[in-house]
Amino acid sequence: MRRVPRSARAALVVACALAAISPLYVGCRATQAPESRAEQVYRFRLREDPPTLDPAQVTDNLSEAVLVNLFRGLVSMDPATLAVVPAVAESWTVSPDGLTYTFRLRDDVVFHNGRRVIAEDVAWSFERLLRPATKSPRRWLLEPLDGAADFTAGRSEHLSGISVGDERTISLRLAKPFAPFLGMLTMPAAAIVPREVYDDPARAYLRAPVGCGPFRLARWEQSNVIELQAFDRFYEGRPKLDRVLVRIIENRQTALEEYRAGGLDSLDEVPREMTPDIRDDVRRYPFMGVGYLGFNLDRPPFKGNADLRKAINFAVDKEYLWNVLLPGGNSPARGIIPPGIPGYDPSLPGYPHDEAKARALLAKAGYPSGKGLKPISLWVNTSDDNRVIAQQVQADLGKIGVPVTIREVDWGAYLKAVEGTPEESGEAQMFRFGWYLDYPDADAVLRLTLHSRNIGPLGNYFRYRNAAFDRLVDEALALTDPGARAERYREAERIAVMDDAVWLFLNYFESATLFKSHVKGVVLTPLGEFRIPLERLWIEKAGG
């Protein structure tokens, strides 16, 4: 090779390493515009990037956290009372037979691209959700519509259950009465999208969503930040916040330090060990979900042995688990329907910790002191909390002689072992699960997780079959009187909890969130920490 002067060669090594980095920074700081004093910016943390910002594909709370600010549907849910309230539709009527819903749209709703929202957009968005090519995991929320099955199967061009009157009128007709329907229309998947953006084979909308919500997407830098900007023409008026920065921070300790340093205005995870600087920032509030250990009712030893399942329920000390081991974020559960949801039963006895009762029931179940029981596999997906829960359950059950082996696996492997298929049960005998209600109705947990029609991946992983239970849940679905519905749900819950002990009932969820004191207008909601309406927030800094 050519000879290079000595001194130049000596310098080369170090220079090579540094060369590529240093010059890139020239001028970086100059691009930073000084923040206007009056600018209102709210910064919150998400653990991960949202898997999707397409309303038709959303199934997780991270995606929802962003989506609910970009999109609106016909109706929304009041975050505090959980009542269905007007959104794009200013009013609606329901026919006396409970089958036809007629919505009157506002005339001042515009998409972020400036076009006015009309009834045709609603029809197109709903058909999109149901269309097979969309492959939406949330298709089910429109399945009560008349003709939905034919449309989804490709047997008809148009959805017979939807009829557009004029630009501001749309009617939805159901195949049969379905009480939670209106509540389901508040879900993010029922958002209204503009056809000119979403009818796109290249799917540019995945990175550039367009809705008619209070904020529009300004940028999305993967694993770093999502920036939302106030939408000037939002139909309820421009939000007080000018910008929202969604910062992607996976590690909770890092996020906590960033919160302390002032880089975040709220934080969705509260540390176990509270320090004085953040103690006053904590807000705790119920979250509509229930945590449990599911029993596989198609496999021994739980198959056909309610006494064994009751024994296990009595043996585990839920108070100790949620008040001592994992304090803050959960309260001990007595049943299935969480507080705040119509049908919640404060007088349900449940299974308070009672070792003597547990032993007696274990003997009655045919396993005195656990004799004859093979080790039961308890499956959890990897997480610190799950590990603590599993170990405590293992210890408590060990005391009465029930042997448990813990299988801790990643989420994919866990689902495979738990869900099974409609025909065949999964491998897991016992497994920890948390079920968040998709809409604030007991139907969202009782029917979806325990009705015999939903056995397998649809949600009834326990393979619970009880005709009396099914009948009550089906009846409640068709009733329109809220009181009568709640009564059915209470009755159904008693069967599943007190007679059949389908789960080991562990906890009702609570949200715990840190808010800096300068964040005003916070509406705490059972829908979860990410559903706090940002359009109602403002920042009030002393001298700011």
């Binding site: 920074y25 097979p132 995991p137 694993s223 960033e258 649809l458």
Partner: protein, 326 residues
């Protein structure tokens, strides 16, 4: 020289093929159904599942899936992310620059710091400073990246407030054409130092050892005899000769460094490939996992090649592509 470079670049292909096959096989064997995870949520309609499986060909026999995958790679197509619905090249494009910058900054720091500390230790051999440097080197090499990172955050960001806690910064300059953002420089410091500490110790030890080794060489006596000062002999003659093994260590440490980058990116919320990779593994987003692994493999091999190309510059006795003189 050119022939050597071409030969080495050809050698890259089997390495990539092996990596591609290995990562594919591992992902295939891990339990869990990607279609199920794509469908998301808890309650899933079997019909939707079937449609997803058909779309991605997940029901085909393993051999068919493997060959389709290889065919795609040969056409230079890394595929489409299951989760994001975007091209894998776009996903990697979003995350590559942060990792490359972090790795380069860390290499520069660990080489520079290692040289300085190693020289200091050799210069003051047997003195307290020697022992201290070597103890620190050992500590740096054995402390977990995760822990070191958090410690640095607590000291320099949380307590002293000299540097930002985490992140890439929101207002770095945009690179024209590539449409990727540069980090704000002060955000780069702590992650780079954390990552550099992993290999800095190893570099320091090698520098010290090879300096002490060459310290007794006759060429140094000659250099001194010619009237060169102590520092000049050290820098121009001793250090020069010590650089070859240092280069080897730096090249080799790159593997550890890329591994450490995954943990560093996690601790500092640094939007790099490591984060994308871990996330994709959790979601079983197979095309993204494969793309990230192949990119990191190529990066590793290419940097090692670059290191090899540097040897003859440091030591003219080394000639690439020929067997060593006997």
């Amino acid at each position: 020289m050119t022939a050597y470079l071409i030969r080495r670049l050809m050698g890259l292909l089997p390495v990539l093929l092996a990596a591609a096959t290995l990562v594919w096989a591992l992902l295939f064997l891990i339990p869990g159904d990607p279609a199920r995870l794509m469908a998301g949520g808890r309650a899933v309609d079997p019909e939707v599942l079937r449609a997803i499986r058909a779309e991605w060909g997940l029901d085909d026999p393993a051999a068919v899936q493997y060959l389709r995958y290889l065919g795609r790679l040969l056409r230079g197509d890394l595929g489409t992310s299951y989760v994001q619905g975007r091209k894998v090249t776009a996903v990697i494009g979003d995350h590559l620059l942060p990792t490359v910058l972090l790795a380069m900054a860390a290499v520069a720091l660990s080489a520079g710091g290692g040289l300085l500390l190693g020289s200091l230790a050799a210069f003051r051999r047997g003195k307290a400073i020697d022992a201290l440097v070597m103890a620190l080197a050992m500590l740096g090499a054995s402390a977990p990246v995760f822990w070191v990172g958090l410690l640095l955050i607590l000291v320099f960001a949380a307590r002293l407030r000299w540097l930002p806690v985490m992140g890439y910064g929101l207002d770095g300059a945009m690179l024209p054409w590539l449409h990727v953002r540069l980090p704000e420089w002060n955000h780069l410091v702590l992650p780079a130092v954390t990552l550099a500490l992993v290999s800095m110790g190893a570099v320091a030890r090698v520098v010290r050892a090879s300096l002490l080794d060459s310290g007794s060489g006759a060429f140094l006596v000659t250099a001194s005899a010619k009237g060169n000062g102590r520092l000049r002999v050290f820098v121009r003659h001793a250090l020069r000769n010590a650089l070859v093994p240092v280069l080897t260590v730096v090249g080799l440490s790159l593997g550890t460094l890329l591994g450490g980058a995954v943990a560093t990116e996690f601790v500092f919320a640094w939007p790099g490939l490591g984060k994308a990779l871990v996330r994709a593994i959790a979601l079983k987003d197979l095309p993204v996992v494969e793309g990230c692994v192949l990119t990191l493999t190529a990066f590793f091999v290419l940097v090692n090649l670059a290191v090899d190309m540097l040897y003859p510059i440091l030591d003219p006795r080394i000639q690439l592509g020929r067997s060593a003189p006997g």
